[in-house]
């Protein structure tokens, strides 16, 4: 009669079963949280990466601007390029409206972070320009 009572074994099994179910539920909840956290991180990372690449990549900004400024229509447009640590300032005291249109068309169609823009009409065919592009 000193053997283990079957009812004790039954209770132990039920307790272990309940404990296992609780642990499993907690793990499933953890998994669900981990999945949603991963999805959120991935979505955030992709968005951040896309925005960084488009607006805040120094090399990309410099290369693209260089390509634009090397266009024949802009090469002789007296555009001065001043590069600082976090931006490029394009300026011209007297730019032909045709060249200005070309420049604006190219810059506005690309993904540059224009932080400042000032165009002042000087005459029917000329204007002054100051444009700051940041990264």
């Amino acid at each position: 009669m000193n053997r283990i009572n079957p009812i004790h074994i039954a209770i132990l099994l039920v307790v272990i079963l309940l404990f296992s179910i609780l642990k499993l539920n907690a793990a499933k909840e953890e998994l669900s949280l981990a999945k949603s956290s991963y999805k959120e991180t991935l979505a955030l990372a992709v968005k951040l990466d896309g925005l960084k690449r488009n607006y805040f990549d120094k090399m990309k900004v410099q290369n693209e601007l260089g390509r634009i400024l090397r266009k024949p229509a802009l090469r002789s447009a007296n555009i001065v390029k001043k590069v600082s640590k976090s931006s490029i300032i394009l300026s011209s005291q007297n730019i032909d409206l045709k060249a200005l249109n070309t420049l604006l068309g190219k810059v506005l169609n690309a993904t540059f972070y224009i932080s400042e823009l000032k165009i002042k009409r000087l005459s029917e065919k000329n204007a002054s320009l100051k444009m700051e592009i940041k990264w």
Partner: protein
């Protein structure tokens, strides 16, 4: 009267008519023949296992209706087979003051008292004796007995039984099946738990890899804040382009000109020259068509417009 001291464990002989016992510690119980059924049989079998499988059928049509457990042991060339009701015995023991937890071992009178040389008195009404090698209980009126049964010097055999508390509800086979099912269920649940944990770890590793791959800041708070800032810039830049597209696409009337265009800090200021009050209507229509938000004022024949981005 029926007590025997052996080490730390006392022995008691229990019959349905026994007086109550005062039990403080663990006891061995010898069951009266009134509490079990016994048969001596010869069987053409080789092992006890084969005997056990036959026990129920060997008692068929002999026993009154009830939930019986069966046991057997070999004596010489024959087998002594027993049938007993666990619950009935447990209830009687309990009535006599012996709780289940106080029972060390349970024996049949048959296995322990088969060597009785003379009839022994159990109480005023019953006498215990051995007849044809079977221990039986007879009314005292049928046989005389001078001596009272004393189990104090008895050497107990190894033939014990285990009383099953719920034997009348669930048999052993069902118990084992239920326990096995529980175990399988536990194993399955624990397996799923470990698989889930492994999945969690894998996802967490992949998440860490995302931080490295996309060069994210160490905390999500920093990253969220950064994204919010970038999205604000993206929104403003998009709005700037939309507004400039409307402004640069305007067909200005003769004598009208865009004198100045200046953008800084979410404000885009435009100055139109050569306009008199009321002449700006076609421009207002164009702005409204493109849903641009603006404020405007006239000063010195110049129309100052400020767009909020």
């Amino acid at each position: 009267m029926f007590w025997k001291f052996k080490g730390q464990v006392d022995t008691v002989f229990v019959d349905s008519n026994s007086a109550s016992f005062k039990v403080d510690k663990s006891v061995n119980v010898i069951l009266s023949p009134a509490l079990y059924w016994v048969k001596k049989v010869s069987l053409p079998v080789k092992s006890m296992r084969e005997v056990r499988s036959l026990l129920e059928s060997l008692f068929e049509d002999t026993l009154p209706e009830g939930n019986y457990s069966y046991t057997a042991y070999k004596e010489g060339e024959e087998y002594l087979i027993f049938a007993y009701e666990d619950k009935k015995i447990i209830d009687i023991l309990s009535d006599k003051g012996i709780a289940q937890g106080q029972i060390n071992a349970v024996y049949f009178a048959q296995s322990e008292l088969s060597n009785l040389k003379s009839p022994k008195k159990i109480d005023k009404e019953s006498v215990l004796l051995v007849k044809d090698a079977i221990v039986v209980l007879l009314p005292a009126a049928l046989i005389e007995a001078d001596e009272v049964l004393d189990v104090s010097n008895l050497s107990l055999s190894k033939h014990t039984i285990r009383l099953k508390q719920f034997g009348h509800l669930v048999n052993d086979k069902s118990l084992y099946t239920i326990a096995a099912l529980f175990l399988v269920l536990i194993i399955l649940i624990l397996s799923e738990y470990f698989i889930t944990q492994a999945k969690v770890e894998k996802i967490q590793t992949q998440q860490s890899e995302l931080f490295t791959l996309y060069k994210l800041k160490p905390t999500m708070l920093q990253n969220r804040s950064m994204l919010k800032e970038y999205e604000k810039i993206y929104k403003t830049q998009t709005k700037l382009r939309e507004t400039l597209s409307v402004l640069l696409g305007l067909s200005l009337q003769k004598g009208h000109a865009m004198k100045l265009l200046a953008y800084k800090g979410k404000k885009l200021n435009v100055v139109f020259s050569g306009l008199k009050a009321g002449q700006e209507k076609y421009l207002i229509t164009a702005f409204k068509r493109s849903k641009l938000q603006y404020t405007a004022k006239f000063k010195d024949q110049n129309w100052y417009v400020e767009f909020s981005l």
